[in-house]
Symmetry: C2
Subunit: 466 residues, 2 copies
């Protein structure tokens, strides 16, 4: 006998109140189609299988490596296999940079090999190893406050530790040192720049990532230490001065545009409004140290799987759904720049877009950046997602994330989906970004949400530009 449960009864009432009263309901047919897609996707392992394929058959795919070329071929074949109507690539040029070999050691008063990575774009130590006294700064601001020439002959070290937060906002506080630290240090006479990795883990992995040289300053080598090695260096610095470090690097630091890169683009053509384009973005390139499962294999898996799930529907989507796997995101959104340049005359037909480039966590928020008129319609879709734990932001200024932000700046409406980013910077840009880190349950949910978003955007008839 099933006993009457007041808890279930009350939950039922409250659910009914919420979904019928608090938000506008979707059109019934669209609602049923989203249900159908949700049921089809939420238990599917397709997006995981795509990530497994990319990381196993290609692996690390940094711009300028043979594997990056291979990833382009992999993506075109995979899109065709998954039922895309059209698949093509759009080539452009990018600078070459090769990591080479790096050896870093604490040399006095204690001797330790230190785990470190060159930052992307960094020059090497062409004149042989650099061995110099380390001067520590708490932050990039403290380094910036150092006087001219005060670091002559020294290695500048920035100790700033990134904070773990759900929205990943600790990254923006920490990444300035990675991008600009070397030039600020060089301006003050430093012979090399070192920093605590921009990352939230406490494992012995350094986090790489792109840096830039500003004009007029010496190009000095720039490296990041793993967090445990940064602790060790700082514990040595607490005891005694001078502390010396040696850096030996064969990083190439070539900056001429001699590497061909390619955005890989695939779409299912819309049945009623083929000229109107819904874009799903991710980036195909990765750094060279891990296999790029999290960054951004997950984005590749989610966007490709979403389209495949949609090809299984009885109807074709009314608008065109286009997946753009951007090239060279890691070294400065170069593929996205090229896309905007090549498609600028058609940007008005890009009706909405969303990128996935933030890893592993379950989506908890949807932030719109659409026309005022269409906002209330988008709320109906958000209401549909609400039982899946997705809230809608009260702002309406999203421009798209990562690569897609350039399309947003060029006029494309956007939805930003926010996954729980608490662990993203544990793996970001490290050797440890591998398949086993993919949260398969969250991935299923996120794939379902992206699939439903693409369907909704292509079939609701809402013009998000208005």
């Amino acid at each position: 006998m099933k006993r009457f449960s007041w808890a279930i009864f009350l939950a039922g009432i409250m659910g009914s109140l919420f979904f019928s009263g608090a938000v506008h309901a979707l059109d019934e047919k669209l609602h049923a189609q989203l249900d159908e897609l949700k049921n089809a996707t939420v238990h599917s392992t397709l997006s995981y299988d795509i990530i497994e394929s990319l990381t196993t058959e290609v692996g690390a795919r940094m711009v300028g490596t043979p594997a990056e070329k291979k990833s382009v071929e992999w993506a075109m074949v995979k899109m065709k296999e998954l039922g895309f109507d059209k698949v093509w690539k759009e080539e452009s040029q990018a600078p070459d940079w090769q990591r080479g070999e790096l050896e870093v050691a604490l040399t006095s008063p204690f001797h330790h090999k230190l785990v470190a990575l060159s930052l992307g774009n960094s020059v090497g130590t062409s004149a042989g190893a650099i061995e110099a006294q380390v001067e520590m700064f708490e932050s990039l601001e403290a380094l910036s406050a150092a006087k001219q020439n005060s670091l002559a002959g020294k290695i500048a070290y920035v100790a700033f530790a990134m904070e773990r937060r759900k929205d990943g906002s600790g990254y923006s506080e920490a990444v300035g040192a990675r991008v600009n630290g070397a030039s600020i240090a060089a301006k003050r006479g430093a012979v090399a720049f070192a920093m605590r990795s921009v990352g939230t883990d406490s494992h012995r992995f350094a986090h790489t990532g792109v840096m830039r040289y500003s004009e007029g300053n010496n190009h000095i080598p720039a490296i990041a230490l793993s967090n445990p090695d940064a602790d060790l260096l700082e514990n040595a610095l607490l005891r005694t001065q001078p502390v010396t470090m040696s850096i030996s690097s064969t990083a190439s630091g070539k900056l001429n545009n001699n590497v061909t890169i390619a955005n890989v683009i695939g779409e299912i053509t819309g049945s009623e409004n083929p000229e109107e384009i819904v874009t799903l973005g991710a980036h195909l390139d990765s750094w060279d140290v891990g296999t790029g499962a999290i960054d951004d294999g997950i984005g590749v898996g989610i966007t490709l799987a979403a389209v495949n799930h949609i090809t299984k529907m009885k109807q074709r989507p009314k608008r065109t759904i286009r997946v753009i796997l951007f090239a060279a995101e890691e070294i400065g959104l170069l593929g996205a720049k090229d896309y905007v340049e090549k498609h600028k005359d058609n940007m008005m037909n890009h009706v909405i877009g969303a990128e996935w480039d933030f890893g592993n966590g379950k989506i908890y928020k949807l932030a719109p950046g659409v026309g005022d008129t269409s906002l209330s319609k988008l709320k109906e879709f958000a209401g549909y997602l609400s039982p899946m734990g997705v809230e809608m932001a009260s702002t309406n200024n999203a421009k798209g994330q990562s690569d897609m932000s350039l399309l947003g700046k060029a006029g494309q409406p956007a939805v930003n989906f926010y996954p729980d980013g608490n662990d993203y910077f544990d793996y970001h840009h490290t050797e440890n970004d591998t398949l086993d880190k993919v949260n398969q349950e969250a991935l299923k949910t996120n794939t379902a949400i992206y699939t439903m978003f693409a369907w909704y955007a292509a079939n609701s008839g809402v013009d998000f530009r208005k």
Copy 2:
């Protein structure tokens, strides 16, 4: 106003019933002394500070490296600083082995650099890189079942994955492949041996550890892959055959006894029965890849701190308390063997001993190996520890852990303390064994327990040999 709490009242009654009724109480004076030690130690950071000093000022300290010599000097100075009455070292000889450089790659059908470490004692690839087809076995037993010559020209790979358990017992199921796999593979014609690391983490660290060549078989290189790299290899093997791997190693594999090692020994001399010795053991050496904070910096920290805390008591301990920091544990308990050999005529005066060589977790069990008469007295001490979450095993056959097991076999009574070992094999023998992994709260509790154990053993008057 403080309100009456039935929960606290009942807990009080039940506590009283248990401690006054279920176990015999300790002598009142001894009880008070243990309380005094507990209060002094449970909030002290001394054991952590010792680990910080060892890992920062010395770091990795593998037998055959300059840092191992430095660790001996460090330990002697530290013991003197901490108030030991006598400090000395006892030297012996050990084989030399140097890791050299290792490069491992999956070469076909996909290309990946693989994260791997040579196993301790492994030979290198003296005739240049080995590139060969990989043949996978689920376990050492499956490898053992392969026919003679069936692996000719191949790399044998054992995929067995260690299980995570509180008592660490998954290790004994997995470690056989590490120790014996290469010879079993060589007997069947293999040119190299590879295995999934003996470890419970899913980070990109390989786990090293000692292996042995059995007589009559070729000495072939032996390596362990990190768990994510093992996943990658196995995913490749699921797709297609042949899968090939290359191994290039400059490991030296010298086995002559040309390295001088030293046990470092310190004691506070007993005030009434100085000839009766209570031993606390840990090992001073580590592998070369991490800084040996967990294995076995924690043991060094706990044992040295315990003695220092005891030197602060008004009374001196009645029996002698001796800390033995064993040499060359990692390559086969060589320091412990030497200790037993040198002290065999005095082993009957070793009244009881305990080793700490199992990392980070809070102690939850005490297992005795003492004379039948003294067992009931030891239960009084266990009863005292019970409110700290320590239970006493019902068996009485402990011989001492790690190094101390050899003293146990030579007749020394023992107590084995069991910490929660769930995370121990996440870090064991990896580059990731660093200071930040030390659980500082558990360390305080464990240091208190060891301090109280040493005091109890030296002052209770109980003869654990009887």
